[in-house]
């Protein structure tokens, strides 16, 4: 049987599209929820980084998704570490001579990044630690049962905002940009090839890299599990999320976001399938979206101005 198959698919032919390696480092049997956006993201991150990788994992969903001792679903070594400590632990690892050339990747949730871990992260970027920090953003403390985090968007119902969040999502990207990291990008689990390319690029750069990935969460956002990729795309298309890269002080919008800024999809398309937005004031949410769209446009415009200056 195996022999016959290999006649049609010789061993080294890549069966994945777009040159993404077939090899899997995130194994079956991991204990993620069905339709988990974070595991979809991790799968492509590990395909991009390959086996010469160590993951540093603070308290978050990914702590649980590895599975229970003595098993692990992750095919690369993992250091699990306390909630606030991931960026510093990764810096310590990357600083040791013996780890030169290894990909040291933090895989942290939004709570561990924008809230409790922000101090260690700020310090690590300021020191230009040679790490890739990935924040998978499911917009709440999902692992503990969906409590509000700094990254929860306006209007979203969580167990600690049972009538919906009344204030705004923390813009961690602007905070990271202010640190002038070597590379920064935002991505979405709905665009795995884009994420794969960004991880590849990030790992080719020396210094601190930060990738912020929107990861839809079926139980937390209250939608049916088959819609993860769809919602990951819709978030970008309606302007709730952006795909961009930030390098050398410049923000470059990626194609899906450029298109969305020209002609955004209706916000309702994104909001409606999600139980967490039940009863949300859509107009107020639209204002939030418009405000962040303006900010991103301004940042992209600054880039245009710089380019024009350089050309003249």
């Amino acid at each position: 049987m195996l022999h016959q198959t290999s006649m049609f698919f010789p061993k080294k032919v890549n069966l994945m599209l777009d040159d993404i390696p077939e090899v899997e480092y995130l194994h079956k049997g991991n204990t993620a929820c069905a339709g988990c956006g974070a595991m979809l993201a991790l799968r492509y991150i590990l395909k991009a980084s390959g086996p010469n990788t160590i993951i540093v994992n603070p308290a978050c969903c990914s702590t649980v998704c590895q599975g229970t001792y003595p098993k692990t679903a992750y095919g690369v070594p993992v250091l699990n570490i306390a909630f606030a400590a991931a960026a510093a632990a990764a810096d310590g690892m990357a600083s040791a001579r013996r780890n030169k050339g290894k990909n040291i990747i933090v895989f942290a949730g939004d709570g561990g990044t924008v809230d409790i871990g922000i101090q260690a992260l700020s310090g690590a970027i300021e020191r230009n630690a040679n790490i890739l920090y990935v924040c998978y953003d499911n917009e709440a403390y999902a692992n503990t049962g969906m409590q509000k985090s700094g990254s929860t968007p306006y209007g979203a119902i969580t167990t600690t905002t049972p009538t919906g969040r009344k204030d705004s999502k923390k813009d961690i990207d602007l905070i990271i940009m202010a640190h002038r990291p070597a590379y920064m990008a935002s991505a979405s689990a709905g665009y795995p090839k884009d994420l794969y390319d960004k991880v590849k690029k990030a790992l080719s750069i020396e210094g601190t890299k930060f990738i912020h990935v929107l990861c839809p969460c079926p139980p937390g956002w209250r939608y049916s599990t088959e819609k993860t990729v769809e919602l990951g795309k819709l978030a970008v298309k309606c302007g709730m999320w952006f795909l961009y890269e930030y390098e050398n002080g410049r923000l470059t919008l990626n194609a899906p976001t450029k298109a969305a800024l020209k002609r955004p999809a209706p916000l309702e398309d994104y909001v409606k399938p999600q139980g967490r937005f039940k009863g949300v004031d859509v107009e107020r949410l639209r204002q939030e979206v418009n405000r962040s769209v303006e900010r991103v446009k301004d940042l992209a415009m600054m880039d245009m101005v710089e380019k024009v200056k350089e050309a003249s």
């Binding site: 702590t63 095919g75 570490i81 400590a85 001579r97 780890n99």
Partner: protein, 365 residues
């Protein structure tokens, strides 16, 4: 090579000689000279290590854990609030069985702000799974750090070397900078993270397994007591300086023993001389090794325990430890908190007036 050095400089020199690969530290009085001296060693290429100027002590210990988890020798130094701020990571380092060595300059804890010597900072970390040693001379600081690396890398537990803030951290004494050579062999951590043999460390471990890891820490701490004796013996053979878990002073025929830790216990030795002149059969015990706690020879003796610390409502932490291990009456003197001056004359006076049992606060009672 001999030179005059402070306790802080001795700590930095010991780190330099121990071939440490990663140092991560955050400044705090009275530890600053340690991290300044190491930074200077690294920047002038006298020491081939990565020096991470972290933004907090929590991150200092996290960075040491990150480095150590891949098998790199790591060091940090702190004091007081810095130690308390890294408390969570102290548990993590011991639980992950990482042989990190740290110097702690014992200092009081606020409020009120007070930068002077007290042992409550490190003693309140008693149950984190760290070995704890208390030095009382500059040479001992240096030697204990060397021995701590050797020991930590044998039993896979982290070690804390404590010295009294200012009284020892800033005291200048002669120091023999002995290169350890192969007394500290290259580190070989069996559980170092390895990309060729990928494992997850510290992942979810259920009620059916978790306790086994805790028991392993407990056993390692007990084993450390024996291993420490063999490390001290080898150290003595190579370098001629003798250490034990307890340094006994004129205890042979003593019917009264004064027990303490750190510099106050050295002061007690002078008090013993004074009391001996008066005809009292006094001796003293200086506890060097607080975790694992050693057996003491206290049977049939009047025991006076000096505590530069307090567990509020319970009394001195060292006294509690002694009461737990030994069925003897203890007269507990709480003295020297926040740098309160405790002279040998005072200790002698306390010994003269000591009751068989009870508690006495210097300057209050």
């Amino acid at each position: 090579m001999k030179k005059m050095a402070t306790g802080n400089q001795a700590a930095a020199l010991a780190v330099k000689e121990s071939n440490v690969e990663v140092v991560a530290a955050y400044p705090i009085t009275p530890q600053t000279e340690v991290v300044e001296t190491i930074a200077s060693f690294v920047e002038t290429k006298k020491m081939d290590a990565a020096y991470i100027r972290v933004e907090s002590e929590h991150s200092a210990m996290a960075a040491c854990i990150g480095a150590s988890s891949t098998g790199a020798r790591a060091f940090t130094a702190t004091s007081s609030h810095g130690l308390l701020y890294m408390h969570e990571m102290l548990h993590w380092a011991a639980g992950a069985r990482l042989p990190i060595v740290m110097a702690n300059m014992n200092r009081a804890v606020g409020p009120a702000w007070n930068i002077w010597a007290e042992h409550t900072d490190s003693l309140s970390q008693r149950d984190t799974g760290w070995m704890q040693f208390y030095a009382s001379t500059v040479q001992e600081v240096y030697d204990t750090i060397l021995m701590s690396y050797r020991l930590a890398e044998k039993v896979y537990l982290p070690a804390m070397v404590c010295l009294d803030g200012f009284i020892l951290s800033h005291a200048i004494q002669p120091l023999d900078i002995t290169p350890p050579g192969d007394f500290i062999p290259p580190i070989d951590l069996p559980h170092a993270l390895d990309t060729k043999d990928p494992m997850s460390y510290g992942n979810l471990t259920g009620p059916g397994d978790y306790f086994k890891f805790r028991r392993a820490i407990h056993d390692a701490m007990k084993r450390a007591d024996k291993e420490c004796r063999s490390v001290e013996k080898e150290f003595s053979g190579r370098f001629g300086r003798n250490y034990g878990p307890v340094m006994e002073y004129r205890t042979g025929d003593a019917d009264t023993v004064i027990v303490g830790m750190g510099t106050m216990a050295r002061e007690a030795e002078v008090a013993v001389d004074l009391l001996r002149k008066e005809g009292m059969k006094a001796g003293s015990l200086r506890i060097r090794q607080f975790r694992p706690f050693p057996r003491l020879d206290l049977e049939g003796k009047k025991v006076i325990v000096l505590d530069r610390d307090c567990s509020f409502g319970a009394g001195g932490i060292l006294a509690q430890e002694i009461r737990f291990h030994h069925d003897v009456p203890v007269y507990n003197v709480i003295a020297g908190l926040g740098g309160q001056d405790v002279r040998y004359e005072t200790i002698a006076d306390l010994a003269r007036k000591a009751k068989p049992e009870g508690e006495f606060w210097l300057g209050v009672d």
